[in-house]
Symmetry: C2
Subunit: 294 residues, 2 copies
């Protein structure tokens, strides 16, 4: 048995699962104070014998194995969690390997092991919701360099019909600033799910997402791109994104993956369990890097 | 002893080197017809006993290990080399493992093993010259997904003072279309090395390069970025690129790497030997993936 936690800013989803990827039981705990939330997490796992614990967490989180604050939540606006030693707290409570990564890296890894990227060796998982984030798996390994990727903040070109300001507090009109849920609402005055499918906002949205996917395809060359998150529950956006992606790339990359754009840019197959199964996959397949290096 | 070939569109640099990275002897052969060029390469290596051969090649090149045309140069405008079976030709002649990668992946790997990225575990190497290309090493491994990255063609935002068309035959005003050597010449009417340091073209150039580096930093989070190629021999461009990079990122990533931008964005330390030493590093440290999988 393995433990899994999808640690989010509004809720913590906890589960016990098996090597096959099957979740045996799970629960959802609201994210309040660290003390209260962690106590309820420990309660869920009480009496269970787990070999390892996988955690896909909200962030930003320090994932530099050489850092003294490895596994700390860092500068989150959720002030009670700022600088919280998540890794150490879990590690000292459970006494088993704890494999910590970002929520999106977890989701990317889960789709690779149990979901829509099982048949390939590289993928990008991008979530488009309140924020935009993405994780990448290359040759079966999660991409980490100086920390975790922050793909939501890449620069995109303005769509000619878009005169909104962009909502990113750091960059204004970066990808997240122009294409996240709040950006859609800022532009159109209503939440995305209330907008008609024919609203021009969706063409603008597809244009920005396609620019990001083109850059991902050129920079890390994933064999599949999975788009999840609240905004992507609007299934009608997928064909628009695929069309814009093909148009922008203009035949520059041609291979069995990109040529079949319907299977190249896809929704998650793990659905609402993507995060939890991703954390489970971390527990099963990854090493506790920090522990090993100490 | 190991063999190394930096296979370029205008010349082939061949070398014999040691595990330490030292090149014992080397030569440069003009790239003419495949028959003539390969005969001269074989002549250079005649009588040498090499354990493996590393090759950093121009492209595009098929690097999909499952492809029937693995190691073929594909759609190059150098028509005599189009569809040339480079890997097979070398493999059958030398009978040793042949490790083939792109020139920029080779250079990135060489800087990682013998050069300016020896002290870190991830880097991007970008060359800015007749074209723009980049290679990436993450956790010591070269990034390959559905093929090799084609980072030169990512999308950038127009600099407000730039009304040039962009020279990329595929995308017009992608990064390569706006920031390669020919793009500089198309914009200013003269070759870059003839332009004064104070010419506004350099501010435009730095802006585009900084956008690309920001996207690399956010997408693959390398611990160091190395900029080589003919255009980057203009050393005065480096401070401009660093300044623009910091300004655009606006403090969003803060860590020991990015905070010290003078050591984050740097010239190659292997100089004119970057390509050859990169090929040597491939021979020493990498496996012949294609051979192993057959």
């Amino acid at each position: 048995m393995f433990g899994a936690i999808e640690a989010g800013g509004t809720k913590m989803v906890c589960g016990i699962g098996m090597e096959t990827g099957e979740i045996i039981r799970h629960t959802s705990i609201p994210t309040t104070t660290p003390e209260e939330t962690m106590a309820r997490i420990f309660e869920f796992f009480a009496g269970e014998s787990i070999e390892a614990l996988g955690v896909g967490t909200f962030g930003p989180v320090d994932l530099d194995p050489d850092s003294d604050t490895y596994g700390h939540i860092t500068t989150t606006p959720k002030v009670r969690w700022a600088n919280y030693p998540l890794y150490e707290t879990l590690k000292s409570h459970f006494g088993v390997p704890v494999i910590l990564d970002t929520d999106v890296n977890g989701a990317a890894f889960g789709e690779m092991k149990f979901g829509g990227a099982k048949d390939v060796s590289s993928c990008v998982y991008m979530t488009v919701g309140t924020g935009i984030g993405a994780g990448a798996v290359i040759d079966g390994e999660l991409v980490h360099g100086m920390g975790h990727p922050e793909m939501g903040h890449i620069l995109v070109r303005r769509h000619p019909s878009d005169d909104s300001n962009g909502v990113c507090p750091y960059h204004g009109d970066c990808l997240e600033g122009l294409a996240s849920g709040p950006a859609i609402e800022a532009r159109s005055g209503v939440k995305g799910h209330l907008l008609d499918e024919t609203d021009e906002t969706w063409d603008i949205e597809a244009d920005y997402l396609a620019q990001a996917l083109m850059n991902f395809a050129l920079i890390i060359a994933p064999q599949r791109i999975i788009l999840g998150g609240g905004v992507m529950k609007q299934q009608h956006v997928f064909p628009k994104v695929r069309e814009a992606f093909k148009e922008k790339l203009n035949g520059y990359i041609q291979n069995q993956y990109v040529d079949n754009v319907e299977t190249y840019i896809v929704p998650p197959t793990l659905g609402d369990f993507a995060g939890l199964k991703g954390a489970l996959a971390l527990a099963i397949y990854k090493e506790d890097i920090h522990h090993a290096r100490r």
